[in-house]
């Protein structure tokens, strides 16, 4: 059996390498790859980050209805909602609106809004040039804020999409930031 020992250790070393590699695969491949795929394919209606507005022609012949919806995640006491529930826009045009928020608590709080677009395949054609969701939003107790949103609907939006719903879910991240200022992905 002694003659086999080296061969056995080589097999073990190879297998152990696979184990380590697969563990690392989860963190360095699966997680980032998922994020990339989400943005590319609009999984969960995720939209890209800030869009650098290129000058594109406005397609006056087409009208897209944009609906805004808002919801609060668990335990989030803010009053939060769109200032208008829907608007009609032309592809290529820059549009703006505001969401209204009010912190009814006595303490100041920090919120993070997460956008999601439906239908999800419209997500990649929905560009935000400015959005309150890009940053965390602090708000003092009892105060009200107007939170701006500016967006462009891409001209390449598939012809069969006539309505796009943009949803914001607002999360209370006050504790999260307090607990650990270091690790945030």
């Amino acid at each position: 059996m002694a003659g086999n020992d080296t061969a056995i250790y080589i097999t073990v070393a190879k297998s152990a390498t696979v184990v380590v590699a697969m563990f690392a695969f989860v963190f360095v491949v699966m997680v980032p790859l998922y994020d990339v795929l989400c943005e590319a394919l609009g999984i969960n209606g995720k939209t890209g980050g800030r869009y650098e507005a290129a000058t594109i022609a406005v397609d006056e012949s087409r009208k897209i209805k944009i609906q805004f919806i808002a919801s609060n995640n668990d335990d989030m006491p803010w009053e939060f909602g769109p200032s208008v529930v829907s608007m009609e826009v032309h592809p290529g045009a820059v549009n703006s609106t505001v969401f209204l928020a009010r912190n009814p608590m006595t303490d100041s709080m920090i919120a993070q809004a997460i956008p999601s677009v439906s239908p999800s395949r419209a997500a990649e054609y929905f560009h935000k040039t400015e959005c309150f969701c890009f940053e965390q939003q602090p708000l003092d107790g009892g105060k009200t804020a107007e939170m701006p949103l500016q967006f462009i609907v891409d001209q390449d939006l598939p012809k069969d999409i006539g309505t796009i719903t943009l949803s914001y879910t607002i999360f209370d991240v006050t504790d999260m930031l307090k607990k650990d200022a270091v690790a945030s992905r």
């Binding site: 969960n44 919806i69 668990d74 989030m76 529930v85 829907s86 999601s116 439906s118 069969d160 006539g162």
Partner: protein
Amino acid sequence: MSSKAKWLKSLALGPVLAMLATAAGFAWADDSKVNQVNMPVGVTELGATIYDLHMLIFWICVVIGVLVFGVMFYSIWAHRKSRGVTPSQFHESTKVEIAWTVVPFFILLFMAVPATSTLIEIYDTSDADMDIVVTGYQWKWKYEYLQDDGQNVSYFSNLRTSQDEIYNAEAKGEHYLLEVDEAVVVPVNKKVRLLITANDVIHAWWVPELAVKKDAIPGFVNETWFKAEKEGIYRGQCAELCGKDHGFMPIVVRVVSEEEYSEWLGGKQKEAAEIAELMAQTFSLDELVARGEEVYNRNCLACHGAAGEGGVGTAIAASPIATGELDGHLDVGVNGVPGTAMQAFGGQLNDVDMAAVITFQRNAFGNNMGDMVQPVDVYNYKKGS
């Protein structure tokens, strides 16, 4: 029939009946849902398509199954040692092996065609007549009807079955566990687009007869649709494990004529206006307690107990909150207790109900505070706190 006799019967007849039912092509399925053995055909065109596809795949499986098991049982009967057969020693045949690789492949291709086209139909949410935002909560659903004029109608839909029925203190009603205080109401023959999301954990909205199931994911919105072609009441349940009361958050959809729908919607909008009006009113202690008891039973009882004795939540009876300062009590009710199962009810209950339930809690279960909260107090508290 006594329950003992009943289960003896099912012990004896169960398997036989079950097999017969399958063999008869699910012939049992009639209007009664009791002991239904197959998927409902449903009341949407898409549901019927899915049902047909389901039956097609099922029958293909049955045919293959009969052939395969037929060969096997013939072999078991014919090629057994007790008949004195000598075993053959063949152990390969390339032709046969290629055949049974290729033939199944073509059968799969045949299945893939209708499967693909049906899936494309399911995904087509365009040109909807109306939109409803469905939000899953632990453990209830919220529905919000999006209106172009901004006057959205929104309400919660809670389980109506009483705890007494669930804990066997009372006979169970016909729609045990499948009944809610406020159903989703939609017009017949209209394409309804559902925008589904969740407030806390993942839930799933499932109504078999509408052939709709979609996950509700916190932070993100999923969409799906249905177009019911028959008026009636259709029942479903949450399909994704969402914690303790996952089994107790049913869905009821009432499909009505278009006139009835507009009437209902108008009623809802009027109700919202009335609530606003009620907020300006002053109620007596008795009125508040009576209304509060109903609100309590719907929203609080599951966690705090029928006698305020507590459970998942803390006890209400003799609780320092319910017998302490009014503001503290309002704070817990409106904002919840972060980090615990106590949710913020400020956004879930209107101010009238909030005032009523707090008054009730302060004057029930042996708590004799004698004080009360008026809707306007809740309103001011929310604005001013």
